[in-house]
């Protein structure tokens, strides 16, 4: 139980950080599951800035194999992607 709580805290911290980053870049309210690429609220640089943010902030390396749109197109998907990379459980419903 204690382990689960710690894992949940880590996932929640990642979620908070991603929300803050994406929110600042988009400068408008956005839900966790909104596809910001389809909404057209991100500019040309956002893709590599997001990659750089994920790598720098969460000490992970993103390779060509990770270039899948569904890894990066919403806050929820970014958090799930980071958690998979870090081997942390993440349940968006929690």
């Amino acid at each position: 139980m204690e382990v689960d709580q710690k894992v949940m805290c880590e996932a929640h911290a990642i979620l908070s950080a991603v929300r803050a980053y994406v929110g600042a870049k988009i400068a408008r309210p956005i839900s966790d599951h909104e596809n910001y690429f389809e909404s057209g609220f991100v500019k040309s640089l956002f893709g590599i800035q997001l990659i750089s943010f994920i790598e720098g902030r969460f000490d992970t390396v993103i390779s060509d194999d990770d270039l899948v749109a569904s890894n990066f197109n919403s806050i929820e998907h970014v958090v799930a992607f980071i958690c998979r990379k870090k081997d942390i459980q993440f349940d968006p419903a929690v």
Partner: protein
């Protein structure tokens, strides 16, 4: 405050540029073609792909050292700097997003210079608005078929590897195309007034058949990730190149104003000349510090590096135009002579305000960042 190792590296790069590049710069510019001796010297020194890691044959220079090399190259010859810029833009995209196979096959050849790479993104009607490109990449069986015409390709006349962008079913996709590929025709662009020796061409790709392994990254990520990675590298290179132009302008002026006498006294004694030199010195120092800061952030792999690089390139390019313009002014009529250095510096400086993101595009992008996130970014 600058570490001794940086000073030593800069000194070595400066000696190379003075001996192997400077003597040929004016002739290359006049001919509209880089002298073969320069390419061979850059290749032999390992300066093509100098930022590439040692395990693929590069020099493994860190970002700041690489910037210093680029700066010294531009101080001597902006067309030679352009060679490094476009070659390394392609190298950076492959290093970052290429498959294991592409990295192991291509990067060592870029490091030795057996392949000279060019970046083919712009089209006649798709410049800053690269997403408006018309080139297509369609599947035919197992293969890909590339069709389109790319404009303003530096070293497009001679490159034997192109990184080309086109529309595929999945969106804009990046592919590597050998210069030997059937279906390629090159039209030299000889009317350019800046970086005249950079062997620019418009390149037509007609029914070029490619292996799916030629894709860099994944289909649909060509513009957002592969091109942007290359352009980020390009902006860093061009920013340092602009610093090199300011250094060259300043050096040309300080020599001239000590020698040239008017009203019975050297120009250097004139207060207005000193104002020019003071402004140039300030622009040189500020631009160098901004590029160096961007370099340190790149070495730290900091997310802020992308925007700081953009900011440094923007400022350095504007400063280079200002400094080169002042150099022409200080030299008077001599400043406009085709045989002199100041007019070449002014033509080359103007290029830095346009390539890898025009000043206006950078104002839009930087303005958006600083208005939403504040500064420091």
């Amino acid at each position: 405050l600058i570490p001794q190792s940086e000073d030593a590296a800069r000194g070595a790069f400066a000696r190379f540029a003075n001996e192997a590049i400077s003597p040929y710069a004016a002739a290359s510019d006049a001919a509209g073609a880089i002298r073969p001796e320069c390419i061979e010297a850059i290749r032999s020194a390992g300066y093509l792909g100098a930022f590439l890691p040692r395990d693929v044959g590069g020099l493994g220079l860190d970002a700041v050292s690489y910037g210093l090399l680029t700066c010294e190259m531009a101080r001597a010859c902006s067309s030679c700097r352009t060679l490094m810029t476009v070659h390394d833009m392609v190298g950076s995209a492959i290093l970052r997003w290429g498959s294991r196979e592409l990295r192991s096959e291509i990067l060592p050849q870029l490091a030795t210079g057996s392949l000279i790479a060019a970046f083919a993104l712009s089209e006649a009607d798709a410049g800053s608005d690269a997403a408006a490109m018309r080139a297509t990449i369609r599947r035919q069986g197992e293969d890909l078929i590339l069709d389109g015409v790319k404009s303003w390709v530096s070293y497009g006349q001679t490159a034997n590897l192109f990184l080309v962008f086109g529309r595929s079913e999945e969106g804009i996709t990046a592919v590597l195309v050998s210069g030997e590929q059937p279906g390629i025709t090159r039209r030299a662009v000889t009317e350019m007034v800046g970086t005249r020796a950079a062997m620019m061409a418009d390149v037509r790709f007609e029914a070029c058949r490619l292996s799916p392994h030629s894709i860099v990254g994944k289909p649909g990520f060509g513009l957002t990730h592969i091109a942007q990675t290359a352009l980020d590298h390009g902006r860093y290179s061009v920013g340092w190149g602009a610093v090199g132009i300011i250094d060259a302008a300043f050096a040309a002026c300080t020599a001239f104003v000590r020698e040239r006498c008017q009203f019975g006294t050297p120009l250097v004694t004139q207060p207005q000349i000193r104002v020019h030199l003071t402004r140039m010195a300030a622009l040189a120092r500020a631009s160098r510090l901004m590029c160096r800061e961007a370099g340190l952030l790149r070495q730290a792999r900091a997310p802020e590096a992308i925007i700081e690089t953009m900011l440094a390139k923007y400022f350095a390019a504007k400063s280079a135009v200002s400094a080169a313009n002042a150099a022409v002014q200080i030299h008077g009529a001599r400043g406009l002579l085709r045989s002199g250095k100041p007019e070449r510096l002014l033509r080359d400086a103007k290029v830095t305000e346009i390539i890898e993101g025009t000043a206006e595009m950078l104002e839009l992008l930087i303005g958006e960042q600083v208005s939403s996130l504040g500064y420091p970014i």
